[in-house]
Protein backbone atom coordinates (compact mmCIF):
# COMPACT_ATOMS: atom_id res chain seq x y z
CA UNK A 1 0.00 0.00 0.00
CA UNK A 2 2.87 2.31 0.78
CA UNK A 3 4.15 1.63 -2.68
CA UNK A 4 0.87 2.67 -4.21
CA UNK A 5 0.78 5.85 -2.15
CA UNK A 6 4.32 6.66 -3.15
CA UNK A 7 3.36 6.10 -6.75
CA UNK A 8 0.48 8.53 -6.47
CA UNK A 9 2.71 11.06 -4.72
CA UNK A 10 5.47 11.01 -7.28
CA UNK A 11 2.94 10.77 -10.06
CA UNK A 12 1.16 13.96 -9.14
CA UNK A 13 4.43 15.69 -8.33
CA UNK A 14 6.35 14.94 -11.50
CA UNK A 15 4.44 13.02 -14.09
CA UNK A 16 1.23 15.04 -14.11
CA UNK A 17 2.58 18.18 -12.53
CA UNK A 18 -0.34 20.38 -11.60
CA UNK A 19 1.04 23.50 -13.17
CA UNK A 20 3.07 22.26 -16.09
CA UNK A 21 0.89 19.40 -17.27
CA UNK A 22 -2.58 20.02 -15.95
CA UNK A 23 -2.56 23.82 -16.25
CA UNK A 24 -3.90 24.43 -12.79
CA UNK A 25 -2.63 27.35 -10.77
CA UNK A 26 -1.42 29.39 -13.69
CA UNK A 27 -2.47 32.77 -12.38
CA UNK A 28 -0.07 32.73 -9.45
CA UNK A 29 2.43 30.86 -11.58
CA UNK A 30 2.84 33.91 -13.75
CA UNK A 31 2.23 36.45 -11.04
CA UNK A 32 4.19 35.32 -8.05
CA UNK A 33 7.30 33.94 -9.68
CA UNK A 34 9.21 37.17 -10.09
CA UNK A 35 11.32 36.31 -7.08
CA UNK A 36 12.28 32.94 -5.67
CA UNK A 37 11.47 33.83 -2.08
CA UNK A 38 7.89 34.78 -2.77
CA UNK A 39 7.42 31.84 -5.07
CA UNK A 40 8.60 29.46 -2.37
CA UNK A 41 6.31 31.01 0.20
CA UNK A 42 3.34 30.81 -2.11
CA UNK A 43 4.15 27.19 -2.71
CA UNK A 44 4.23 26.43 1.00
CA UNK A 45 0.90 28.11 1.54
CA UNK A 46 -0.54 26.09 -1.31
CA UNK A 47 0.74 22.79 0.06
CA UNK A 48 -0.84 23.64 3.36
CA UNK A 49 -4.23 24.49 1.89
CA UNK A 50 -4.17 21.57 -0.53
CA UNK A 51 -3.62 19.06 2.23
CA UNK A 52 -6.50 20.33 4.30
CA UNK A 53 -8.74 20.61 1.25
CA UNK A 54 -7.99 17.07 0.26
CA UNK A 55 -9.08 15.75 3.64
CA UNK A 56 -12.25 17.80 3.64
CA UNK A 57 -13.06 16.83 0.07
CA UNK A 58 -12.62 13.14 0.86
CA UNK A 59 -14.93 13.54 3.79
CA UNK A 60 -17.52 15.41 1.78
CA UNK A 61 -17.41 12.90 -1.04
CA UNK A 62 -17.73 9.95 1.25
CA UNK A 63 -20.57 11.12 3.43
CA UNK A 64 -22.32 14.18 2.16
CA UNK A 65 -22.23 14.40 -1.59
CA UNK A 66 -23.48 10.92 -2.34
CA UNK A 67 -26.97 12.19 -1.91
CA UNK A 68 -26.65 15.28 -4.08
CA UNK A 69 -23.85 14.96 -6.63
CA UNK A 70 -24.93 18.06 -8.48
CA UNK A 71 -24.04 20.19 -5.47
CA UNK A 72 -20.45 19.13 -5.71
CA UNK A 73 -19.02 22.27 -7.34
CA UNK A 74 -20.87 24.60 -5.04
CA UNK A 75 -20.00 22.62 -1.95
CA UNK A 76 -16.33 22.47 -2.85
CA UNK A 77 -15.91 26.11 -3.65
CA UNK A 78 -17.82 27.28 -0.60
CA UNK A 79 -15.85 24.94 1.61
CA UNK A 80 -12.56 26.02 0.10
CA UNK A 81 -13.35 29.70 0.50
CA UNK A 82 -14.43 29.27 4.10
CA UNK A 83 -11.52 26.98 4.84
CA UNK A 84 -9.01 29.47 3.61
CA UNK A 85 -10.65 32.19 5.64
CA UNK A 86 -10.64 30.09 8.79
CA UNK A 87 -7.07 28.97 8.25
CA UNK A 88 -5.98 32.53 7.78
CA UNK A 89 -7.69 33.67 10.95
CA UNK A 90 -6.25 30.76 12.89
CA UNK A 91 -2.72 31.35 11.70
CA UNK A 92 -2.99 35.01 12.43
CA UNK A 93 -4.15 34.33 15.94
CA UNK A 94 -1.76 31.59 16.91
CA UNK A 95 1.37 32.35 14.99
CA UNK A 96 1.87 35.93 13.85
CA UNK A 97 5.29 35.01 12.54
CA UNK A 98 3.85 32.36 10.28
CA UNK A 99 1.14 34.76 9.26
CA UNK A 100 3.70 37.30 8.18
CA UNK A 101 5.35 34.66 6.09
CA UNK A 102 2.33 32.99 4.57
CA UNK A 103 -0.72 34.99 5.37
CA UNK A 104 -0.77 37.24 2.42
CA UNK A 105 -0.96 34.40 -0.01
CA UNK A 106 -3.84 32.56 1.52
CA UNK A 107 -6.59 34.75 0.08
CA UNK A 108 -4.98 34.48 -3.31
CA UNK A 109 -5.38 30.77 -3.18
CA UNK A 110 -9.13 30.91 -2.90
CA UNK A 111 -9.88 31.90 -6.45
CA UNK A 112 -7.12 29.71 -7.65
CA UNK A 113 -7.86 26.82 -9.97
CA UNK A 114 -5.34 24.60 -8.31
CA UNK A 115 -7.28 23.94 -5.13
CA UNK A 116 -10.63 23.38 -6.75
CA UNK A 117 -8.90 21.40 -9.47
CA UNK A 118 -7.32 19.22 -6.82
CA UNK A 119 -10.69 18.49 -5.25
CA UNK A 120 -12.26 17.67 -8.60
CA UNK A 121 -9.46 15.45 -9.85
CA UNK A 122 -9.40 13.62 -6.57
CA UNK A 123 -13.12 13.01 -6.89
CA UNK A 124 -12.89 11.84 -10.47
CA UNK A 125 -10.21 9.34 -9.63
CA UNK A 126 -12.10 7.98 -6.63
CA UNK A 127 -9.26 8.23 -4.18
CA UNK A 128 -9.83 7.33 -0.55
CA UNK A 129 -8.51 9.41 2.35
CA UNK A 130 -4.92 8.29 2.26
CA UNK A 131 -4.62 8.25 -1.49
CA UNK A 132 -6.17 11.69 -1.68
CA UNK A 133 -3.72 12.94 0.90
CA UNK A 134 -0.68 11.72 -0.97
CA UNK A 135 -2.18 13.06 -4.17
CA UNK A 136 -2.56 16.47 -2.58
CA UNK A 137 0.93 16.43 -1.10
CA UNK A 138 2.41 15.46 -4.42
CA UNK A 139 0.44 18.14 -6.18
CA UNK A 140 1.52 20.78 -3.70
CA UNK A 141 5.17 19.81 -3.80
CA UNK A 142 5.10 19.62 -7.58
CA UNK A 143 3.50 23.03 -7.74
CA UNK A 144 6.11 24.50 -5.43
CA UNK A 145 8.79 22.89 -7.52
CA UNK A 146 7.44 24.42 -10.70
CA UNK A 147 7.05 27.83 -9.06
CA UNK A 148 10.55 27.87 -7.67
CA UNK A 149 12.08 26.64 -10.91
CA UNK A 150 10.39 29.29 -12.97
CA UNK A 151 11.19 31.96 -10.39
CA UNK A 152 14.86 31.15 -10.44
CA UNK A 153 14.93 31.24 -14.22
CA UNK A 154 13.07 34.53 -14.27
CA UNK A 155 15.37 36.09 -11.73
CA UNK A 156 18.32 35.26 -13.91
CA UNK A 157 16.62 36.32 -17.09
CA UNK A 158 15.62 39.65 -15.61
CA UNK A 159 19.27 40.55 -15.52
CA UNK A 160 19.74 39.78 -19.18
CA UNK A 161 19.14 41.81 -22.24
CA UNK A 162 15.70 40.79 -23.39
CA UNK A 163 14.18 42.34 -26.51
CA UNK A 164 11.39 44.76 -25.70
CA UNK A 165 8.67 42.72 -27.36
CA UNK A 166 9.44 39.67 -25.32
CA UNK A 167 9.69 41.37 -22.01
CA UNK A 168 7.47 40.05 -19.26
CA UNK A 169 4.74 37.71 -20.26
CA UNK A 170 5.85 36.69 -23.69
CA UNK A 171 9.15 35.37 -22.51
CA UNK A 172 7.82 33.99 -19.25
CA UNK A 173 5.32 31.85 -21.08
CA UNK A 174 7.92 30.50 -23.43
CA UNK A 175 10.13 29.72 -20.45
CA UNK A 176 7.21 27.99 -18.82
CA UNK A 177 6.66 26.03 -21.98
CA UNK A 178 10.23 24.85 -21.98
CA UNK A 179 9.89 23.82 -18.35
CA UNK A 180 6.74 21.92 -19.25
CA UNK A 181 8.61 20.26 -22.07
CA UNK A 182 11.29 19.19 -19.63
CA UNK A 183 8.75 17.71 -17.26
CA UNK A 184 7.28 15.67 -20.08
CA UNK A 185 10.38 13.59 -19.74
CA UNK A 186 8.91 12.12 -16.58
CA UNK A 187 6.02 10.58 -18.46
CA UNK A 188 5.84 6.85 -18.18
CA UNK A 189 7.99 6.88 -15.08
CA UNK A 190 6.13 3.93 -13.70
CA UNK A 191 5.40 1.83 -16.73
Amino acid sequence: MMGELLLIFVGSMLVTNFVLALFLGLCPFLGVTAKVATAARMGMATIFVMTITSLVASFLNAYVLIHAPYLRTIAFIVVIASLVQIVEMTIRKFSPALFRELGIFLPLITTNCSILGLAIFQTNRDYNFLQGLSFALGAGVGLTLAFVLLASIRQKVDLSDVPAVARNMGLVLILAGTLSLAFMGFAGLFS
Binding site: Y70, A97, I104, N112, M169
Partner: protein, 327 residues
Protein backbone atom coordinates in the same frame (compact mmCIF):
# COMPACT_ATOMS: atom_id res chain seq x y z
CA UNK B 1 0.24 48.48 -21.22
CA UNK B 2 0.32 45.89 -18.51
CA UNK B 3 3.72 47.17 -17.49
CA UNK B 4 2.30 50.61 -16.94
CA UNK B 5 -0.47 49.25 -14.78
CA UNK B 6 2.03 47.30 -12.73
CA UNK B 7 4.29 50.28 -12.18
CA UNK B 8 1.34 52.40 -11.16
CA UNK B 9 0.36 49.80 -8.60
CA UNK B 10 3.83 49.58 -7.15
CA UNK B 11 4.26 53.31 -6.83
CA UNK B 12 0.87 53.87 -5.26
CA UNK B 13 1.15 51.22 -2.63
CA UNK B 14 4.44 52.16 -1.06
CA UNK B 15 2.84 53.65 2.01
CA UNK B 16 0.69 50.72 2.94
CA UNK B 17 3.50 48.39 3.78
CA UNK B 18 4.83 50.36 6.71
CA UNK B 19 3.80 49.35 10.15
CA UNK B 20 3.54 45.74 9.23
CA UNK B 21 7.18 44.84 9.68
CA UNK B 22 8.28 41.52 8.36
CA UNK B 23 6.13 41.50 5.25
CA UNK B 24 7.92 40.70 2.04
CA UNK B 25 9.47 43.92 0.91
CA UNK B 26 9.25 43.57 -2.84
CA UNK B 27 6.30 45.34 -4.32
CA UNK B 28 6.09 42.69 -6.93
CA UNK B 29 4.61 40.57 -4.23
CA UNK B 30 1.89 39.64 -6.55
CA UNK B 31 2.17 41.08 -9.97
CA UNK B 32 -0.73 39.87 -11.96
CA UNK B 33 0.14 42.09 -14.87
CA UNK B 34 -3.11 43.85 -14.45
CA UNK B 35 -5.10 41.40 -12.45
CA UNK B 36 -4.48 37.82 -13.36
CA UNK B 37 -5.11 35.68 -10.37
CA UNK B 38 -7.88 37.24 -8.45
CA UNK B 39 -6.34 40.19 -6.68
CA UNK B 40 -4.03 43.02 -7.56
CA UNK B 41 -1.40 44.34 -5.23
CA UNK B 42 -3.79 46.93 -3.94
CA UNK B 43 -6.28 44.71 -2.17
CA UNK B 44 -3.58 42.63 -0.50
CA UNK B 45 -2.22 45.58 1.33
CA UNK B 46 -5.67 46.91 1.77
CA UNK B 47 -6.81 43.74 3.45
CA UNK B 48 -3.72 43.56 5.58
CA UNK B 49 -3.91 47.24 6.34
CA UNK B 50 -7.49 46.89 7.49
CA UNK B 51 -6.37 44.30 9.93
CA UNK B 52 -3.16 45.89 11.06
CA UNK B 53 -3.55 49.63 10.80
CA UNK B 54 -6.74 51.54 11.18
CA UNK B 55 -5.90 54.36 8.83
CA UNK B 56 -6.57 52.92 5.44
CA UNK B 57 -9.58 55.11 4.84
CA UNK B 58 -8.78 57.20 1.78
CA UNK B 59 -7.10 54.33 0.04
CA UNK B 60 -10.13 52.21 0.35
CA UNK B 61 -12.24 54.89 -1.22
CA UNK B 62 -9.85 55.10 -4.11
CA UNK B 63 -10.01 51.42 -4.53
CA UNK B 64 -13.74 51.46 -4.75
CA UNK B 65 -13.72 54.15 -7.37
CA UNK B 66 -11.35 52.69 -9.85
CA UNK B 67 -12.74 49.60 -11.45
CA UNK B 68 -9.91 47.27 -12.16
CA UNK B 69 -10.80 43.99 -13.77
CA UNK B 70 -9.62 41.07 -11.80
CA UNK B 71 -9.44 42.95 -8.56
CA UNK B 72 -11.15 40.99 -5.86
CA UNK B 73 -11.73 42.16 -2.39
CA UNK B 74 -11.99 39.35 0.06
CA UNK B 75 -14.31 38.96 3.00
CA UNK B 76 -13.03 40.85 6.00
CA UNK B 77 -11.85 39.01 9.07
CA UNK B 78 -14.79 39.68 11.32
CA UNK B 79 -18.11 40.71 9.98
CA UNK B 80 -19.21 44.15 11.05
CA UNK B 81 -15.68 45.39 11.68
CA UNK B 82 -15.76 49.13 11.16
CA UNK B 83 -14.46 49.02 7.59
CA UNK B 84 -11.40 51.08 8.37
CA UNK B 85 -12.85 54.44 7.82
CA UNK B 86 -15.33 54.08 4.99
CA UNK B 87 -17.85 56.48 6.37
CA UNK B 88 -20.91 55.90 4.24
CA UNK B 89 -21.30 52.15 4.75
CA UNK B 90 -23.60 51.16 7.54
CA UNK B 91 -22.79 47.88 9.19
CA UNK B 92 -25.03 45.06 8.19
CA UNK B 93 -26.23 42.80 10.91
CA UNK B 94 -25.05 39.26 11.05
CA UNK B 95 -28.62 38.14 10.68
CA UNK B 96 -28.93 39.95 7.38
CA UNK B 97 -25.74 38.41 6.11
CA UNK B 98 -26.77 34.93 7.08
CA UNK B 99 -30.18 35.54 5.57
CA UNK B 100 -28.65 36.63 2.29
CA UNK B 101 -26.39 33.65 2.06
CA UNK B 102 -29.14 31.28 3.07
CA UNK B 103 -31.56 32.69 0.54
CA UNK B 104 -29.00 32.61 -2.21
CA UNK B 105 -28.12 29.08 -1.29
CA UNK B 106 -31.72 27.96 -1.19
CA UNK B 107 -32.52 29.50 -4.56
CA UNK B 108 -29.43 28.02 -6.08
CA UNK B 109 -30.25 24.65 -4.66
CA UNK B 110 -33.80 24.75 -5.97
CA UNK B 111 -32.75 25.64 -9.50
CA UNK B 112 -30.08 22.98 -9.47
CA UNK B 113 -32.50 20.31 -8.37
CA UNK B 114 -34.70 21.11 -11.34
CA UNK B 115 -31.88 21.03 -13.82
CA UNK B 116 -30.60 17.84 -12.26
CA UNK B 117 -33.95 16.13 -12.59
CA UNK B 118 -34.18 17.23 -16.19
CA UNK B 119 -30.71 16.18 -17.20
CA UNK B 120 -30.17 12.97 -15.26
CA UNK B 121 -32.41 10.71 -17.37
CA UNK B 122 -30.70 11.90 -20.51
CA UNK B 123 -27.26 11.40 -19.08
CA UNK B 124 -28.07 7.92 -17.82
CA UNK B 125 -29.69 6.98 -21.10
CA UNK B 126 -26.63 8.06 -23.01
CA UNK B 127 -24.31 6.18 -20.71
CA UNK B 128 -26.44 3.06 -20.95
CA UNK B 129 -26.40 3.31 -24.73
CA UNK B 130 -22.64 3.66 -24.82
CA UNK B 131 -22.26 0.74 -22.47
CA UNK B 132 -24.59 -1.44 -24.52
CA UNK B 133 -22.68 -0.67 -27.68
CA UNK B 134 -19.36 -1.33 -26.03
CA UNK B 135 -20.48 -4.66 -24.65
CA UNK B 136 -21.76 -5.54 -28.08
CA UNK B 137 -18.39 -4.79 -29.57
CA UNK B 138 -16.24 -6.64 -27.12
CA UNK B 139 -18.40 -9.72 -26.77
CA UNK B 140 -19.17 -9.84 -30.47
CA UNK B 141 -22.85 -9.26 -30.32
CA UNK B 142 -24.71 -10.59 -27.33
CA UNK B 143 -28.45 -10.11 -27.46
CA UNK B 144 -29.01 -9.90 -23.76
CA UNK B 145 -26.76 -8.98 -20.94
CA UNK B 146 -27.16 -8.35 -17.27
CA UNK B 147 -25.31 -6.52 -14.56
CA UNK B 148 -23.72 -8.57 -11.83
CA UNK B 149 -22.21 -6.78 -8.87
CA UNK B 150 -19.24 -7.77 -6.82
CA UNK B 151 -20.45 -7.36 -3.28
CA UNK B 152 -18.48 -8.47 -0.26
CA UNK B 153 -16.38 -10.85 -2.27
CA UNK B 154 -19.22 -12.50 -4.09
CA UNK B 155 -21.03 -12.08 -7.34
CA UNK B 156 -24.61 -11.09 -6.76
CA UNK B 157 -27.31 -10.14 -9.18
CA UNK B 158 -29.47 -8.31 -6.73
CA UNK B 159 -28.07 -6.24 -3.98
CA UNK B 160 -29.51 -6.44 -0.48
CA UNK B 161 -31.83 -3.69 0.66
CA UNK B 162 -30.32 -0.29 1.11
CA UNK B 163 -27.04 -1.02 -0.58
CA UNK B 164 -26.33 1.45 -3.33
CA UNK B 165 -24.77 0.12 -6.53
CA UNK B 166 -22.68 3.25 -6.92
CA UNK B 167 -19.02 2.51 -6.45
CA UNK B 168 -19.38 -1.25 -6.54
CA UNK B 169 -17.38 -3.27 -8.95
CA UNK B 170 -19.43 -5.04 -11.58
CA UNK B 171 -19.24 -7.33 -14.56
CA UNK B 172 -21.65 -7.90 -17.40
CA UNK B 173 -22.35 -11.47 -18.50
CA UNK B 174 -23.70 -11.62 -22.01
CA UNK B 175 -25.99 -14.15 -23.69
CA UNK B 176 -26.87 -14.71 -27.28
CA UNK B 177 -30.38 -14.86 -28.61
CA UNK B 178 -30.87 -18.46 -27.48
CA UNK B 179 -29.77 -17.72 -23.95
CA UNK B 180 -26.36 -19.29 -24.37
CA UNK B 181 -23.61 -17.58 -22.44
CA UNK B 182 -21.08 -15.67 -24.50
CA UNK B 183 -18.72 -14.38 -21.87
CA UNK B 184 -18.21 -11.52 -19.50
CA UNK B 185 -17.66 -7.89 -20.28
CA UNK B 186 -15.35 -6.34 -17.71
CA UNK B 187 -14.38 -2.72 -17.42
CA UNK B 188 -11.55 -1.00 -15.65
CA UNK B 189 -9.28 2.01 -15.64
CA UNK B 190 -5.58 2.55 -15.20
CA UNK B 191 -3.29 5.53 -15.49
CA UNK B 192 -1.75 5.69 -18.92
CA UNK B 193 0.54 8.30 -20.40
CA UNK B 194 -1.60 11.34 -19.74
CA UNK B 195 -4.46 10.34 -17.50
CA UNK B 196 -6.70 7.38 -16.79
CA UNK B 197 -7.56 5.07 -19.66
CA UNK B 198 -10.98 3.43 -19.34
CA UNK B 199 -11.26 0.11 -21.08
CA UNK B 200 -13.92 -2.56 -21.44
CA UNK B 201 -13.03 -6.02 -22.63
CA UNK B 202 -14.72 -9.33 -23.16
CA UNK B 203 -13.53 -12.42 -21.36
CA UNK B 204 -14.36 -16.09 -21.71
CA UNK B 205 -13.49 -17.89 -18.49
CA UNK B 206 -13.70 -21.37 -19.91
CA UNK B 207 -10.86 -20.82 -22.34
CA UNK B 208 -9.30 -17.94 -20.41
CA UNK B 209 -9.34 -15.89 -23.54
CA UNK B 210 -9.93 -12.23 -24.06
CA UNK B 211 -12.60 -11.79 -26.67
CA UNK B 212 -12.18 -8.17 -27.59
CA UNK B 213 -11.16 -4.80 -26.23
CA UNK B 214 -12.55 -1.31 -26.50
CA UNK B 215 -11.24 1.92 -25.07
CA UNK B 216 -14.07 3.87 -23.50
CA UNK B 217 -12.26 7.00 -22.45
CA UNK B 218 -8.76 8.30 -22.67
CA UNK B 219 -6.81 11.50 -22.60
CA UNK B 220 -3.86 10.29 -24.62
CA UNK B 221 -2.17 12.47 -27.15
CA UNK B 222 -3.90 12.75 -30.50
CA UNK B 223 -1.56 11.39 -33.12
CA UNK B 224 0.59 9.51 -30.62
CA UNK B 225 -1.16 7.71 -27.81
CA UNK B 226 -4.53 7.65 -29.45
CA UNK B 227 -3.49 4.70 -31.58
CA UNK B 228 -5.22 2.74 -28.89
CA UNK B 229 -8.46 3.84 -30.47
CA UNK B 230 -7.28 4.42 -34.03
CA UNK B 231 -5.12 1.43 -34.79
CA UNK B 232 -7.39 -1.39 -35.90
CA UNK B 233 -4.52 -3.82 -35.89
CA UNK B 234 -3.73 -3.15 -32.27
CA UNK B 235 -7.37 -3.38 -31.19
CA UNK B 236 -7.88 -6.52 -33.22
CA UNK B 237 -4.86 -8.05 -31.58
CA UNK B 238 -6.88 -8.53 -28.42
CA UNK B 239 -9.30 -11.00 -29.96
CA UNK B 240 -8.72 -14.53 -28.75
CA UNK B 241 -5.65 -13.74 -26.70
CA UNK B 242 -5.07 -15.98 -23.78
CA UNK B 243 -4.61 -14.71 -20.28
CA UNK B 244 -2.06 -13.71 -18.96
CA UNK B 245 -1.37 -11.31 -21.80
CA UNK B 246 2.11 -10.32 -22.78
CA UNK B 247 2.81 -7.20 -24.73
CA UNK B 248 5.63 -7.54 -27.22
CA UNK B 249 7.22 -5.26 -29.75
CA UNK B 250 5.67 -5.51 -33.16
CA UNK B 251 7.51 -7.93 -35.35
CA UNK B 252 9.03 -10.04 -32.62
CA UNK B 253 6.00 -12.32 -32.26
CA UNK B 254 6.49 -16.05 -31.92
CA UNK B 255 2.89 -17.03 -32.46
CA UNK B 256 2.32 -17.54 -28.77
CA UNK B 257 -1.40 -17.16 -28.02
CA UNK B 258 -0.53 -14.97 -25.03
CA UNK B 259 1.12 -12.28 -27.07
CA UNK B 260 -0.25 -8.90 -28.04
CA UNK B 261 1.56 -6.60 -30.44
CA UNK B 262 2.32 -3.17 -29.07
CA UNK B 263 2.35 -0.15 -31.33
CA UNK B 264 5.73 1.48 -31.73
CA UNK B 265 5.80 5.02 -30.38
CA UNK B 266 2.86 4.45 -28.06
CA UNK B 267 4.15 1.61 -25.96
CA UNK B 268 3.18 3.21 -22.68
CA UNK B 269 -0.47 3.54 -23.61
CA UNK B 270 -0.59 0.05 -25.11
CA UNK B 271 1.19 -1.52 -22.16
CA UNK B 272 -1.23 0.15 -19.80
CA UNK B 273 -4.13 -1.61 -21.49
CA UNK B 274 -2.38 -4.97 -21.39
CA UNK B 275 -1.58 -4.61 -17.70
CA UNK B 276 -5.05 -3.37 -16.95
CA UNK B 277 -6.62 -6.45 -18.53
CA UNK B 278 -4.26 -8.76 -16.69
CA UNK B 279 -4.93 -7.12 -13.36
CA UNK B 280 -8.69 -7.20 -13.77
CA UNK B 281 -8.80 -10.81 -14.78
CA UNK B 282 -6.49 -11.73 -11.94
CA UNK B 283 -8.77 -9.97 -9.50
CA UNK B 284 -11.97 -11.50 -10.85
CA UNK B 285 -10.78 -14.98 -11.78
CA UNK B 286 -11.51 -16.62 -8.41
CA UNK B 287 -15.03 -15.24 -8.47
CA UNK B 288 -15.77 -16.36 -11.98
CA UNK B 289 -14.94 -19.98 -11.27
CA UNK B 290 -18.32 -21.11 -10.10
CA UNK B 291 -20.50 -18.60 -11.85
CA UNK B 292 -23.74 -20.08 -13.07
CA UNK B 293 -25.15 -18.67 -16.19
CA UNK B 294 -28.80 -17.88 -15.92
CA UNK B 295 -30.08 -15.98 -18.89
CA UNK B 296 -32.75 -13.49 -17.95
CA UNK B 297 -36.02 -14.77 -19.33
CA UNK B 298 -37.42 -12.86 -22.31
CA UNK B 299 -40.63 -11.93 -20.48
CA UNK B 300 -38.74 -10.05 -17.84
CA UNK B 301 -37.90 -6.64 -19.28
CA UNK B 302 -34.16 -6.16 -19.49
CA UNK B 303 -33.05 -3.82 -16.77
CA UNK B 304 -31.32 -0.63 -17.72
CA UNK B 305 -27.73 -1.57 -17.02
CA UNK B 306 -25.94 0.40 -14.40
CA UNK B 307 -23.46 2.32 -16.46
CA UNK B 308 -21.05 3.65 -13.89
CA UNK B 309 -17.68 2.14 -14.43
CA UNK B 310 -16.42 -0.17 -11.74
CA UNK B 311 -13.29 0.05 -9.68
CA UNK B 312 -9.79 0.97 -10.71
CA UNK B 313 -7.71 -2.01 -11.72
CA UNK B 314 -5.74 -3.65 -9.03
CA UNK B 315 -8.39 -3.68 -6.37
CA UNK B 316 -9.04 -7.28 -5.61
CA UNK B 317 -12.62 -7.79 -4.49
CA UNK B 318 -11.62 -10.78 -2.43
CA UNK B 319 -12.27 -14.46 -2.67
CA UNK B 320 -15.48 -16.26 -2.12
CA UNK B 321 -17.92 -18.58 -3.77
CA UNK B 322 -20.42 -17.30 -6.14
CA UNK B 323 -23.82 -17.05 -4.66
CA UNK B 324 -26.81 -17.65 -6.86
CA UNK B 325 -29.71 -15.31 -6.57
CA UNK B 326 -32.97 -15.53 -8.44
CA UNK B 327 -32.64 -13.30 -11.46
Amino acid sequence: MSDDIRKKDAVGEGGGEDGRGGMPEDHDLYTPQGGGGGTGSGPIQEVAAVRGAPEAGPKEDQRVDVPRPGEVRLPQVAPGQPGAGVPEVKETSILRMILTLATAGAMAGAVLVFVFLWSQPRILAYQAKVLAESIGEVLKGPEIYETVYVYQGQLVRELPEGVSPAGLDRIYPGYDVDGRPMGFAVSGAKAGYMDLIHVIFGYDPSSQEVLGMKVLDHKETPGLGDVIVKDEGFIGGFVRVRWPLRGIKAGTGTGDPHEVDLVTGATISCRTIVELINLRIEALEPLLEGFQWVAPSPEVPAEVPDPSIGGVAGEAPGNGDWKEEAA
